[in-house]
Symmetry: C3
Subunit: 350 residues, 3 copies
């Protein structure tokens, strides 16, 4: 585990900052967060799932964050609150601040004279910044990033190394982009002209709201005619493909390897599990959860969880089974034939 900071906080400090009810010695010093299994006296942990009760009983942690119902699950010094995991997140952010970055433009960056870079921003080595780019207060652009003409990046954003943002895209405040992210490459638009593909220029942009985080090597294509839009608070994991003209509603979250095809509109507070795929030109309402490995082929008009995953088997069993999966229509026909015959037998009987 790394430790960006040696700074400690007392339990009293923590409840002053983040609220909650403190049971135990307010002067106990906390240096870092940890798992129940690995924690020592200077660590704080969270507990929110009774399946881990034995880990809680055996932990050597200095303090625990836990929910109101679980207040008596341990006798250790503890903070009682409504949402232990969110509380833990805030404590961990306090204990693990982003390392300070020197403001200023690295001498080996190439920044166009027309760009407006806030004096508190940091531009790393081998960065290229195009014409009319704006970079806001406290924003950090890591080494090797390429920021196209007319791009605007808000305040306190963090672009890690080797990110590309194509021309004209807008990126909000407190956005985090991880390495290898590509924002604003051309959407996949071609007209077929007698067997050959003619490119449709992609003249839309990508608009990314505030508080968005995007994982490593994820790509978000620019719109064909209008814009691709990622709303506030969206969290995207690694290696996700967001196609042109997609809109992802506020506070939606998607796990790794997800694909969203062109012009799909995803609602607010949706989730998509790993490798979920959403076809193009669909609309998905707010509050939909798509399970991992699930292919969504039609619009979804009601909140809830949707799944299409095929269950796995031992390969030998699958071999016996799989061929039948292609002949469901015949199986259903056979059942109908049986039903008719039985009805006939019963009729004759009576």
């Amino acid at each position: 585990m790394n430790s960006h900071t040696g700074q400690k906080y007392s339990l009293g400090d923590l409840v002053t900052r983040f609220g909650g009810e403190l049971l135990g010695d307010a002067s106990i010093q906390i240096r870092q967060v940890a798992s129940l299994e690995r924690a020592g006296l200077e660590h704080i942990c969270f507990f929110s799932d009774v399946r881990y009760r034995s880990q809680l009983q055996n932990t050597s942690a200095g303090a625990i964050i836990l929910g109101r119902k679980e207040r008596n699950e341990t006798a250790l010094p503890r903070i009682i609150c409504d949402n232990p995991y969110a509380y833990f997140a805030k404590v961990s952010s306090l204990l693990n601040p982003e390392p300070a970055t020197m403001p200023g433009i690295h001498p080996l960056a190439v920044v166009d004279d027309s760009a407006t870079i806030d004096s508190s921003a940091s531009i790393g080595a081998f960065v290229v910044v195009g014409k009319n780019v704006k970079v806001g207060v406290g924003t950090v652009i890591g080494p090797g990033c390429h920021i196209g003409d007319n791009v605007s990046i808000g305040d306190d954003a963090r672009l890690y190394a080797s990110i590309v943002v194509y021309h004209d895209c807008l990126i909000g405040d407190r956005v985090i982009l991880h390495s290898g992210v590509v924002i604003g490459a051309d959407g996949f638009g071609f007209a077929n002209d007698e067997g050959r593909w003619v490119k449709i220029p992609q003249i839309g942009r990508v608009l990314i709201g505030n508080d968005v985080e995007i994982g490593a090597n994820t790509t978000i294509d620019r719109g064909a005619l209008e814009d691709t839009v990622i709303e506030d608070g969206v969290k995207l994991d690694n290696l996700i493909m967001v196609a042109h003209n997609v809109r992802i509603g506020a506070h939606s979250a998607m796990a790794g390897c997800v694909g969203i095809a062109g012009s799909a509109k995803i609602g607010n507070r949706c989730t998509v599990g790993g490798a979920g795929m959403i076809l193009g030109h669909l609309e998905i309402v707010d509050g939909v959860n798509v399970s991992a490995g699930t292919l969504i082929t039609k619009s979804i008009t009601k909140p809830g969880t949707y799944t299409s995953a095929m269950p796995f088997s031992k390969h030998q069993d699958w071999l016996k089974n799989a061929a039948h999966l292609r002949h469901m229509d015949k199986i259903v026909e056979k059942i109908r034939a049986l039903e008719q015959k039985i009805n006939e037998l019963e009729r004759k009987k009576s």
Copy 2:
């Protein structure tokens, strides 16, 4: 929407360049393409699907491109042609030319003395160009690209920022590579030697034909012994994996997140929908369409559309359903037993 150009063209100009029949005032000036919904007087739109008839009726566009059958669907100034979408593509390319790039080699690029860079080509900042590399007329290599030894890139190609081309690969004319593309990394070849993997050196190349476009973060591996080949006019979307020794036939197109395993041979004018997967050592004839989310496990010898996607359900319904999917063989057995019993009952009857 961006606008790389302020240049306008009259409807008369357009039919002079691209053909078609003009109905209406030839002097009407067009500045940009747009969707029917967002268009204004200086915009031209296309119409090819009667499902959007109400949008056509309500549009404020200055002119419409539409097919011969639809010639009377609007009274607006219009261009009648055989393929409205391809016509629209050409008009849009005219109105949205690539921004001009300054020819020459950026002073912060590292270009080997043995490389042959055409004087009209543009090599961006922080580019590395290896030994004996050739770069053709009008080709643009964006910032941060790395071009390995002996690579040849044709004329009028466009490599966006942060692309890697490994040694010995060949790239044709008018090829477009988007950011994060990796061409020619080692294929995945290992021999198992008593539980350990021994690397098979990958000594083939990647050969990319003319007019190919490859989306962001797509990877195309070099061949093991022979070459991986992407033929003319192929269009690949983002985050696609093309393994070693694959051949993709001319004018085939593949959507995002597709995977093509080693030594698969894909015919001409094929399409693969998003997240389609094609296993290794297969052959797929010309004119095959693989649906989104479909896994191709055997060679395909006839053109047509092929699908394996599992339909999605509400999760509660899926839970009731999914377990049975693993026991198709038992279901089929039960049906056979029923058929036998009924045959017996009927025989006794008669």
Copy 3:
């Protein structure tokens, strides 16, 4: 095909180095490996699959590597050994050595003064090396790589161009990372706080053992609290997503487009086929093979091969078939009803 070397070896040299039984003229000179179909007199091939017998009979190769049982399948000069493919791998590595790289730090690299770079290591142009980084003997870091603070890279490792390694990660000896790889980006960890996502700082590292190879644009996230671990000898193909806290056991191998969700523990000597997906918090024992396109949703406690792929059909057949796949529970119910009716008919009969 490239040829990094003009050096030839006699068959006698090869058996001296790698063992095996030589049948034929020991003085025959071999310049390169090749496929049976393309080989000429200076090429050596391997033969291990009797399906390619006709290729063996027609080859123009100078020599063949083959197994003990197949010793008489050809009369050509040949090397007989236990594992022809592994033998071929070793011969190919001898004939195709990595091109020599000049040791030293490129004048356009930015290396922190506190970094320890072995004098035999090579640091390419536009590389950024952070504080306290260690780079071992003979290691090559290609152009445009970004190595975060406190990273340690072992001996004889090879990082191709444009790789990012975040702070604090450890990389072993003889590791090969291909372009676009991102090691140590933040894992996908968020607590939901009244509809908004609060980031969980990811304070673990990535630990990569010896002899690991990782394909282009693959991403391996750092651990949330503890570390993500890739053990010795693991081979990962392109565009793979390894989430936080995953452990991949020694000598496991995974094909392109695989996803491993958070905290999954994969055993030793496992394989995962292309686009296989393994859900989070699972444990998979040693020696498990997951088929291509298979979603693993539960822990696997026994070695063997596991599959969930849905077989593909012509789209017209699939359309007739697919709707039924969502109604397996109803089909099973109907069968039960039929069974009851038949039992009744039989009872009445008797």
